[in-house]
């Protein structure tokens, strides 16, 4: 049995704000069963439940971290509302249902939060896409330096550069290339938005 060390929603939120892994773990484990129940009862399987649940946790996590989460409702209700909306959207995509689901609890309108989340996701995907297009060894160098915060010295050794200066030179070229790819794809998506509206 997992010991619940955070007894209220506000304590959980404070824990997450302090980067406590335990708080996040407890939050994750606490609410998964109700979402699994919701998805299983609405034409989904365990993997679907995992996907939308994790997305909802990310929405909540980002919202807490951004400091814009106000505890007007229970965390449970917020998570359920996000999952419900995400699941409806997915059902619509798969056209498995005419847009109605069996509900297990009350829910809130969370359109704005999801919009913000989708915007952020799009940006992240753009960067992920640019990184994957970058090719080796640039991708690893950039990830090691900027994402994993490794020192130039370690990177130089890992890639067999004679000194850190050479590695810096290489990293600079890689960064320029990444920027180019990123801003190109960024302007492309913006064009698409303009054309659509």
């Amino acid at each position: 049995m997992i010991k619940d060390s955070y007894s209220s929603d506000s304590e959980l939120i404070a824990g997450i704000l302090n980067d406590s892994e335990d708080a996040l773990r407890q939050l994750y484990k606490q609410h998964f069963p109700s979402i699994l129940q919701f998805v299983l009862n609405n034409n989904g399987d365990e993997d679907d439940a995992k996907d939308i649940y994790q997305e909802a946790i990310i929405v909540l996590y980002d919202k807490i971290k951004a400091g814009s989460f106000e505890l007007n409702s229970k965390l449970k209700t917020f998570i359920y509302s996000v999952c419900r909306r995400l699941w409806l959207k997915r059902l619509k995509l798969m056209s498995r249902s005419a847009g109605s689901v069996t509900d297990f609890q009350e829910f809130l309108p969370i359109e704005e939060d999801l919009e913000r989340h989708e915007e952020k996701d799009a940006q992240l995907n753009l960067m992920e896409g640019a990184l994957s297009k970058l090719g080796e060894p640039c991708k690893t160098i950039i990830e090691d330096y900027y994402l994993h915060n490794q020192s130039m010295q370690d990177i130089a050794e890992k890639f067999g550069y004679t000194n850190a200066e050479n590695a810096k030179n290489q990293k600079y070229k890689c960064l320029m290339r990444l920027k180019k790819i990123f801003f190109q794809s960024n302007s492309k998506t913006e064009e698409v938005y303009v054309r659509r509206s």
């Binding site: 994750y28 484990k29 998964f32 069963p33 699994l36 992240l124 992920e128 600079y172």
Partner: protein
């Protein structure tokens, strides 16, 4: 001052806080003096922020997956599995009992029916949608093959499986018909007396009102122009003279009658009873009063009772249009408010009206 590479390195050191106090002060003053440099710093800062966001998201996802792996999914899902499982278990257990009970029930029903065999049959409601299949077969020999002589490229070659009537709601391409006409449709086409044919799609339908809104989905369609009729907002009186146009056959048919009761089948307050000849295919046709106001939509009739046709009231139509959720519609349906039919003789009214009444062909 710096080369590109060095500049970039310096900016990074500055942003990462790796500079000494003195270097930092120097760099700040450079930044203030050089707008171009300042711009580069801001850009680099934002870009690094984006990279950091990717890193954070990756860490978070890995963490969540780790938590997920710690869960005992099987146990949880067995606890929350849909309740149907239980029903099936119960069903299996009691199959034999159910079978005995069911056969007794069936025997009782048929026994009772046989003993008390009613001399008269109960009249029921029948929706007036036309089943094209039966007509097609009976008239097979008489059908002109329109497709070989004229090129109707827009329409599928086979005749529709069901037919009904529909009329224009607003000039920008919205039409109204009965829910039961388009229910279960794969594709829907409409055609009027002039031969204008369009593909349409269902925008919204409601089985309670038995109404559906169609929208023309055809690039060649522009506008219907201004409509000659309006929708009556108030209740109509008994004895009010009304007429309808519809497509019980492939030609438009005019029917005349009067409002005979204020409620529909079984006291249904959504509808009127109209004494008007109506046949399968009339469903969805407008019921128009002598002044040119639409007072209802033909929806069905009572079998075995002569002249009892039912029409959904115009107030119900307006209520139905207002109940359409905003997200089903791109733009609001605005119902016409100017009537140009009033005072005209009937033949002129029909002439003006007939371009706005369409035959609905439903394919499924």
């Amino acid at each position: 001052m710096y080369g590109d590479l060095n500049l970039s390195n310096e900016i990074e050191r500055y942003l990462k806080g790796e500079m000494t106090e003195a270097e930092r002060k120097h760099f700040d003053s450079l930044r203030e003096a050089d707008a171009d440099l300042d711009h580069k710093v801001v850009e680099q800062e934002q870009f690094m922020g984006k990279l950091r966001a990717v890193a954070n998201r990756r860490t978070l996802k890995a963490q969540l997956n780790e938590f997920h792996a710690e869960l005992n999914i099987e146990q949880i899902s067995s606890e929350v599995k849909p309740k149907e499982a239980k029903v099936i278990q119960l069903f299996r257990k009691y199959t034999s009992n159910i079978a005995v009970a069911a056969s007794v029930a069936i025997l009782t029903i048929f026994g009772t029916l046989f003993v008390t065999n009613p001399g008269k049959q109960n009249s029921t409601y029948s929706a007036l949608r036309r089943d094209m299949e039966s007509i097609k077969r009976s008239q097979n020999a008489l059908i002109r093959n329109i497709n070989s002589t004229k090129s109707h490229s827009k329409m599928p070659s086979a005749p529709g499986t069901f037919g009904g009537t529909s009329f224009v709601l607003s000039s920008d391409g919205f039409l109204i018909t009965n829910y039961h006409v388009i229910n279960g449709a794969d594709s829907i086409y409409i055609q009027n007396e002039k031969g204008d044919a369009f593909k349409v799609k269902t925008v919204y339908s409601d089985p309670v009102f038995d109404l559906a809104v169609l929208k023309i989905d055809d690039p060649t369609f522009k506008s219907f122009g201004s409509l000659p009729y309006t929708f009556k907002k108030s209740k109509s009186d008994l004895g009010e003279e009304v007429f309808t146009l519809g497509f019980p056959r492939d030609e438009m048919v005019y029917g005349k009658g009067y409002l005979s009761s204020a409620t529909g089948f079984g006291g249904d307050t959504i509808a009127y009873q109209v004494s008007i000849p109506a046949n399968p295919g009339n469903s969805g046709g407008p019921v128009v009063d002598s002044k040119g106001n639409v007072v209802g939509v033909i929806s069905g009739k009572q079998t075995l009772t002569e002249g009892a046709t039912f029409a959904v009231r115009s107030q119900s139509i307006l209520k139905f249009i207002n109940s359409i959720p905003q997200d089903s519609l791109k733009d609001k349906i605005t119902v016409n408010k100017k009537n140009t039919l009033s005072g005209l003789p009937r033949t002129q009214q029909i002439k003006k009206l007939q371009d706005y009444v369409f035959m609905v062909k439903v394919y499924n």
